[in-house]
Subunit: 139 residues, 4 copies
């Protein structure tokens, strides 16, 4: 089961068209990633390590307009890991329904803030990300 | 020349890492698109028409971290138009430099809010979008 | 006991100084007010009534800078009700501590969106707001 | 004449009621204060000084609902200065009209980020703030 975060749509999330604004979804996705890391890792230790996961690409589909009072479920899991980057797949669903509101691939690289450069995804960080991958369904 | 919008990075645009937050860039891109439509179309008439251009996908690369006081130039132009959708290409640059801070393809469809469904991109809307395309460089 | 809402401070809530930005607190307060109304009233019926509580003044003290990872408790209760307006008092506290991060008085008026004008706070709306008042402590 | 900043209301500034959200006004006010300091002070030097003006109170009246396409003028001036704090008065007006959309008093204290404590408003900082005061109208 992927990690899930719940967010209720409020008046300040909406825009001109009374739908959740496209920028706001990126905050919802970030909220879900922090929750994922908080629940599945030693976040304070990660924060103190000086290695940050930095977003380098977001590819997001907006599929269904969420509006006032909708309860959203955000599923987050690691889709792929390479030496250079990891892709987190996130889906925003209407709670209790199959409706996909939005779905995104968020590509992140490990960045050493002291050295000021990207570093390989390896060691403990790689293990943590691997633990967030969905198991391949058995045949 | 593509359409340009200028935005100065302020304290409230930044996040944990003292860089512009990834969600905030989507507001910058939206600001630039409204400015584009305001300057190149009869926006009130478009707003009153009941046909809205709705974002269905954003694919954004974050290339360079903008921070406090940076002056950003956002270039916006129409990259492609089909019967079903149009893609607006947007680049965020540091003013006076070649540094690409972010670049995005924003895919939009025409939505008839009365009918509650997508409609083809045709007629005047298509002409307006075509006028926002960059001319192909002569050989 | 006043109504409480919990919010965890995330990276995107912070600004230049790595503290929660002053505008963001107003979103936290709005979140808490929606939660209050959702839990203590028939919110869909209220939303459908055409009478909205509109904010006409916010007076907010920023007392302590909340930062990454802080867990905030937002207490909300009705402080006073007159014929013309109601004041909601909201306090933002660090969870498990007495530290007051921010406190605000939010003055609201009832607005009839059909008629396009403020209306007296009376009848069921007044009763609902009265039920959100803190009881005066017995001597 | 007070300092002015112009902001055009866009789709992403609105909320449930198709009016600019109350939290967003605080971003507009912050934008105007940064512009004020940028135009009337040596902002990079101020930023480098280690002394920051921190907001400790905002008292804001919401008077008129701004909506899509409205052009706002934000007037900012220093209203009062004491040893401990300064109050910046800001008014949001509809461009070309007398309509007051919102008005706020923003109280700030000087904070020494190295020492971790408030410091008196004195010397050059006081002079700069005094230069932002409106002249008293001659009789």
């Amino acid at each position: 089961m992927p990690h899930t975060t719940r967010i209720k749509v409020r008046g300040y999330h909406l825009d001109l068209y009374s739908h959740v604004n496209n920028a706001r979804y990126l905050e919802f996705l970030e909220e879900a990633r922090w929750t994922l890391f908080e629940e599945r890792t030693d976040l304070p230790r990660y924060m103190a390590s000086g290695i940050a996961l930095i977003v380098v690409n977001i590819n997001i589909d907006y599929r269904y307009p969420a509006t006032m009072g909708d309860e959203l479920i955000i599923e987050s899991s690691v889709k792929s890991i390479s030496n250079r980057s990891a892709v987190i797949h996130q889906r925003v669903l209407l709670a209790g329904k199959d409706t996909v509101v939005a779905q995104a691939d968020v590509t992140m690289v490990a960045f050493d803030s002291q050295a000021g450069r990207a570093v390989p995804i390896a060691g403990e960080l790689k293990s943590v990300l691997e633990s967030m991958q969905e198991p391949v369904a058995a045949v």
